[in-house]
Symmetry: C2
Subunit: 151 residues, 2 copies
């Protein structure tokens, strides 16, 4: 056993709970970068378990994969991230989460006064102008205020 043969993709999958196909997909999206062994198979570092765990958590917070990649780009590239490194990027994650919670809370507080009254049919209703509307959830092209449809 050499000091560092690395983890095979199946082992990493078992450690993280992710599907093998998902890990390959994340690589294609630039979220993780394994090296290859002599036979061309992917090998991962121990630290990648944590990296993928972070990806999963950030996803629960509603970040898209490109957003997560961006957050991860603040990790040092030249060495294995330390606990402090992880703590540092968690700050950025936390800020996004705080904003999301604020938006939902604001929306909720408007709900009671708004539904049932006339404003539900008006475009100026407070519920119609959230900040992060277009990206709030789901995928696919989405027509939203200020994003003119063809017809």
């Amino acid at each position: 056993m050499a000091v560092s043969e690395g983890l095979a993709i199946g082992a990493l999958a078992r450690r993280t709970g992710l599907a093998v196909s998902a890990i390959r997909y994340y690589e294609a999206q630039g979220l993780i970068t394994p090296w290859r062994n002599a036979g061309g198979q992917r090998r991962y570092q121990r630290a990648d378990i944590r990296r993928l765990s972070f990806v999963m958590i950030a996803q629960q917070f509603g970040l898209t994969l490109p957003e997560i990649r961006e957050v991860l780009s603040d990790l040092p590239g030249n060495r294995t991230p330390t606990p402090q490194d992880w703590k540092d990027i968690s700050v950025s994650l936390r800020a996004r989460l705080d904003q999301r919670i604020d938006t939902l809370t604001r929306l909720r507080d408007n709900l009671d006064g708004c539904i049932g009254c006339g404003c539900l049919s008006l475009p100026k209703c407070a519920l119609y102008n959230p900040d992060d509307r277009a990206k709030s959830h789901g995928s696919g092209p989405r027509y939203l205020m200020g994003d003119a449809p063809k017809t």
Copy 2:
């Protein structure tokens, strides 16, 4: 002009800000049910403006279209919904929203203590067991805890 010719789909689109194609799509998903005029064109009631507005608001809250359809099913089918009817179903909406906010808040409160510590690599971490994980956001098949992948 008869008393009730109804709104054409284009008019409804202008009133709500939705694309015509989206309105047809919502019909296919069972969210709205127009009638047809002699020529086969869709006609809508005035109350449908509010119905679609509700759909848009519920979407911002993160509900999927099937969920919204379910919420809307509590409206009276035999008559035009009254303001009180709308208020009633808003309660159901608010409950879901409260839960979502709670989940996010709990997640956030765990974040600082969790990232950077060893638990980030462990499946038992508090961040790994949210209630509504599978449906929290995004689309497509998603392998998540308790939903075994094939390989």
